[in-house]
Symmetry: C2
Subunit: 357 residues, 2 copies
């Protein structure tokens, strides 16, 4: 029943509404309408509504009353043309399909709206060329600020530099070297310290890194952090696998590792997605986790918890990262002059079955 019903009604309704053309296209209320209705000039009406200038108490109240009476809402476009500011923040992520970025976008969106801005989202698909193109569009569209997860530690820089001077920018999660912009991300070193302490507790003697290449800052930093922890803990370490932050890379790492004679006690993956692909890949080759080898992840995506085995991982404080980043960004938009911040937020460890002997 449901379906037929919908269609009938839908069609009928459509016929009824459309008609000759826009009989009912009620042109929206403009500031002039409000001014006239309130018996003041358009200038006074503007001042009364924005509150940025001296207007008598009485007038303000009257204008405001009339405005809400008429259902007036400023035209953001006219305002943008006049002010040169859109109250839009543009965001660029490498891959929205990566659950970690989806989580990050979600958190950022909330902060952006809370701050009274809209979010214009774009996906670079990991290509600096696309990233550059999107950044340029942001500049042309006169967004007030840009929140970016740079896809390339080095190559993301030129496009960032080409942004209109004075445009507020904040980097999240990953950074481009020498970008003169604030950055907020996880403390990778702290994360790996947690991970290694945990592995040592589990009696692990040898580890192998399966992470991303050096193209992204996190790829590079996590590999550095891994090496530093190997030093600190004195664990044995084998040839690393370096790919991308993806499930696919995890599977490839699995194939590569299995092809070697011996497995280490534990494999430290550069992200949860890699860990997931890794475990699935190992399983295909008959290697069981955690029975035959332990595996750790990084990021703390929800799916890691319900995977079998659940992934031991470093949980990124996504909300905190988003909050700080947007706070910084809005600060810059409002012109608060200050030194460039490089902010590292401490993560936490979430132990799972994947490292449980």
């Amino acid at each position: 029943m449901g379906k037929n019903c919908v269609n009938d009604y839908t069609l009928r309704y459509a016929a009824q509404v459309r008609g000759p053309y826009s009989e009912q296209m009620s042109r929206s209320v403009t500031l002039l309408d409000v001014a006239e209705a309130a018996g003041v000039s358009i200038a006074t009406a503007s001042r009364a509504l924005t509150g940025k200038d001296r207007v008598s108490r009485n007038t303000v109240e009257r204008v405001r009353a009339v405005a809400s009476e008429l259902g007036y809402r400023v035209d953001p476009i006219a305002r943008a043309l006049r002010e040169g500011s859109t109250r839009i923040i543009g965001m660029i992520v490498p891959v929205i399909g990566n659950p970690f970025f989806a989580q990050l976008v979600d958190a950022v969106e909330e902060q952006v709206h809370a701050a009274g801005f809209e979010l214009l989202l774009a996906d670079s698909h990991g290509y600096v060329t696309e990233e550059a193109r999107r950044l340029q569009v942001f500049g042309e569209r006169k967004v007030d600020g840009v929140a970016i997860v740079p896809s390339d530690r080095i190559a993301s820089l030129p496009a960032l530099r080409a942004l209109p001077a004075g445009l507020a920018v904040v980097q999240l999660d990953r950074s481009a070297e020498n970008a003169a912009a604030d950055f907020v991300g996880v403390d990778n070193e702290a994360g790996f310290r947690l991970l290694f302490d945990h592995l040592v507790d589990q009696g692990v003697r040898s580890v192998v890194f399966a992470g991303s290449d050096d193209i992204t800052s996190n790829g590079a930093e996590r590999w550095d952090a891994f090496q530093r922890e190997v030093q600190r803990t004195g664990l044995e370490s084998g040839e690393p696998y370096r790919g991308e932050f993806s499930i696919h890379s995890g599977s490839e790492a699995a194939a590569a590792l299995v092809a070697r004679r011996a497995l280490p006690d534990a494999i430290v993956a550069g992200s949860d997605l890699i860990a997931l692909g890794l475990i699935a890949g190992l399983r295909e080759h008959g290697v069981r986790v955690p029975e035959d080898v332990l595996v750790t992840g990084f990021d703390g995506i929800e799916l890691g918890q319900i995977y079998s085995p659940s992934i031991t991982t470093v949980v990124q404080p996504v909300d905190g990262i988003a909050r700080d980043a947007i706070t910084y960004l809005v600060g810059r938009i409002q012109g608060t002059e200050s030194a460039i911040r490089n902010s590292r937020i401490a993560p936490t460890l979430r132990p799972g079955r994947s490292t449980q002997r």
Copy 2:
């Protein structure tokens, strides 16, 4: 040469115009700059660039040359104010964190950009109030079109109706009843037919539905489709579990099912996320999939493939849905008058280990 030329000119011009203020804030090239440099009026310059009106071949070439020389790009805001059109498409999804929607957004974004629009993305978090608020903002911001995954079959309607008359709208994946707008989604009935045929092939005799409630169109339709297939195939069916499209609901379904005396041969989940939560939940209760019970999903998210066991699922043709939806939407934006379309795209089955006896 070109580039230096531009910058020199720009800077000189800026300095000259601005005065004491922003010494380095290179004001961008305006249409007037182009007109003057090309020795024509601003109107002619506009015509030459937009190509919407008769201009001599010569002039067109000269203006275009000068424009690209100077690096001119139209100001989208000024144009929007004048034309009343922003070349932006607004999109609303219930939860960007749901991998299926992330996939959908990705596909839509590609189509939107290919059509020469920008994408303004918003997340309703499943609340109609938020959805309504976002829709209103879209209207105010004068987006040219709206692509929406309505979060409520019924309650999403008012906000949709409140949109400025004539604003182009397309619904994806889910629909609101009686919304006078195009819709593109998967053919749920066809999907369940594939599923049931497969289950029957596996020798299944009894099934239970673990899906979403009737709040979303897909929740309602899939439950209907399930019942219809039960009729058609003559399988036995038990009391369904109805929740949300989430991992969490899957776990709850598992708890509910385990609490009953007997398990069916197969559990048909309303989505992959539910299936994932379900399998994880069953495992916690010592129930193995597929050994003790078979499980199917719906959507075809990547993670279903690497899960253990891999999920047998109905793969939605996400790219096709996005392509059709944006084609419809752009058609409406360009004023192609036509009847309202209700388009169902046929899915395919991807068998996995979760139904392999």
